[in-house]
């Protein structure tokens, strides 16, 4: 049983393609979303300051992520959650129904229980 040159080339080409495809799956692009009662909207990752509800809620955005800097909800859980910067990070303010979430095509876990 001998592997011909053509066989070898086909195998090598397929190997390269499959390894490339696997690394693509693993890398995943980060996308930042703001969720509210109105639905889900993407926020572009660039230095910005976003005011919502007439300035009751303020978001600070950078190229790495975003955080709530002001929110009129009672417990300020979304502010203490800090920066939303890694895949799967979420900061939610349940009383006024706002949340920030970072989604990627590949995350280390599928859900968080809290």
């Amino acid at each position: 049983m001998k592997i011909s040159k053509a066989d070898f080339l086909v195998i090598a080409a397929l190997l390269i393609v499959s390894i490339f495809a696997m690394t693509l799956n693993g890398r995943g692009e980060k996308r930042l979303y703001l969720i509210s009662e109105d639905g889900k909207s993407e926020i572009s990752l660039k230095d910005d300051r976003i005011e919502l509800d007439d300035g009751d809620i303020i978001l600070e955005v950078t190229s790495n992520g975003a955080r709530f800097v002001k929110n009129d909800c009672p417990n300020k859980i979304c502010i203490s959650a800090g920066w939303v910067k890694d895949c799967g990070d979420t900061a939610a303010c349940v009383p006024n129904k706002y949340a920030l979430t970072m989604e990627c095509s590949e995350v280390p876990y599928d859900a968080v229980s809290q």
């Binding site: 639905g39 417990n75 599928d110």
Partner: protein
């Protein structure tokens, strides 16, 4: 022969490249006082609307029936509410009255769920405990397991539409249907204080998981004491055992209820109950120690 060999290699490589290509999409929306996320295979993504409307419908039914019952003090329920009330009765028996759907009588004194929060007088607390005992002027709330129950109904809906793999997560009360691609669903349990840390990551397939904690819905008194939303119906106070309790069960309703119920019980009592019910438990106690009971660690291995 060489040709056959090449063909086999090609097939393996093609499988490697495209084998785990079932893509999933996650949609999030606000329901039941929390953010609900639904992860579905791309080909079934249009079912998100059906799930959403089913959950909202049930939520509204539970909410309006509860309000009506509290107003009229008539707690004779039918249909879904009767089913929920029966669960509540069983859980109350299981805990010798420490768990009660009427513990909302106490929680309401403190200002839960919406605030403004306040620390009631000892007399008011005693009166509320006494009222629950006599079923007089009580307030009822199915919140401890209604959310889990509604997740289960959404799971039933997806199964009836032939969805083999999906996840529904209602603010930490979740159900994992099937698997995700070539592996089980991975669920991280949050650390009570450290936002970036997890106390456990488990792998689930056709299982539910729910967590109760003292770190999500709480307020602090003038003396800096933390008061959270779970109350012992026999004392009118917060139980003082844990910071976080997670439970894995066959239904979300059960996981949801047990996460609250176990919050009210000392560890020895949890051990007896979780081995009888076959529900793995993860505890994070007041001494910052993590305890794994009834086979929790088996779910940490892939």
């Amino acid at each position: 022969m060489p040709r056959l060999f090449t063909q086999i290699i090609c097939l393996i490589l093609i499988a490697l490249t495209f084998g785990c290509s079932e893509k999933f999409e996650t949609e999030r929306f606000y329901s039941m006082g929390t953010f609900v996320s639904i992860t579905l295979p791309e080909k079934h993504k249009n079912l998100e609307i059906d799930v959403r409307s089913k959950m909202t419908k049930l939520e509204n039914l539970v909410k309006s029936s509860s309000e009506k019952a509290n107003e009229s003090q008539n707690f004779n329920f039918t249909g879904v509410m009767n089913e929920l009330a029966e669960y509540g009765e069983q859980y109350s028996e299981m805990t010798e009255g420490r768990f009660s759907i009427y513990a909302y009588t106490i929680a309401k004194l403190y200002g839960f769920h919406e605030g403004p929060y306040t620390e009631p007088s000892e007399d008011d607390i005693e009166k509320a405990v006494d009222d629950i005992d006599k079923m007089k002027d009580v307030k009822m709330d199915m919140g401890a397991f209604a959310k889990g129950y509604i997740v289960d109904k959404a799971v039933e809906l997806l199964r009836s539409k032939c969805v083999d793999n999906a996840m529904i997560n209602a603010g930490g009360d979740l159900y994992a249907i099937g698997i995700k691609g070539d592996r089980k669903w991975r669920v991280a349990v949050k650390h009570p204080d450290k936002t970036d840390e997890f106390i456990s990551i488990v792998h689930l397939e056709d299982k539910a998981l729910a967590t109760s904690g003292d770190y999500e819905r709480f307020f602090e008194t003038k003396n800096g004491k933390r008061i959270y939303h779970i109350f012992d119906a026999t004392t009118g106070k917060n139980p003082e055992f844990y910071r976080s309790v997670s439970v894995i069960a066959d239904t979300t309703e059960k996981a949801d209820a047990l996460a609250t119920i176990f919050f009210l019980l000392p560890e020895t009592d949890i051990k007896i109950r979780c081995s009888k019910l076959k529900t793995p438990v993860l505890l994070y106690n007041k001494k910052d120690v993590v305890k794994k009971l009834c086979g929790w660690e088996n779910f940490e291995n892939k």
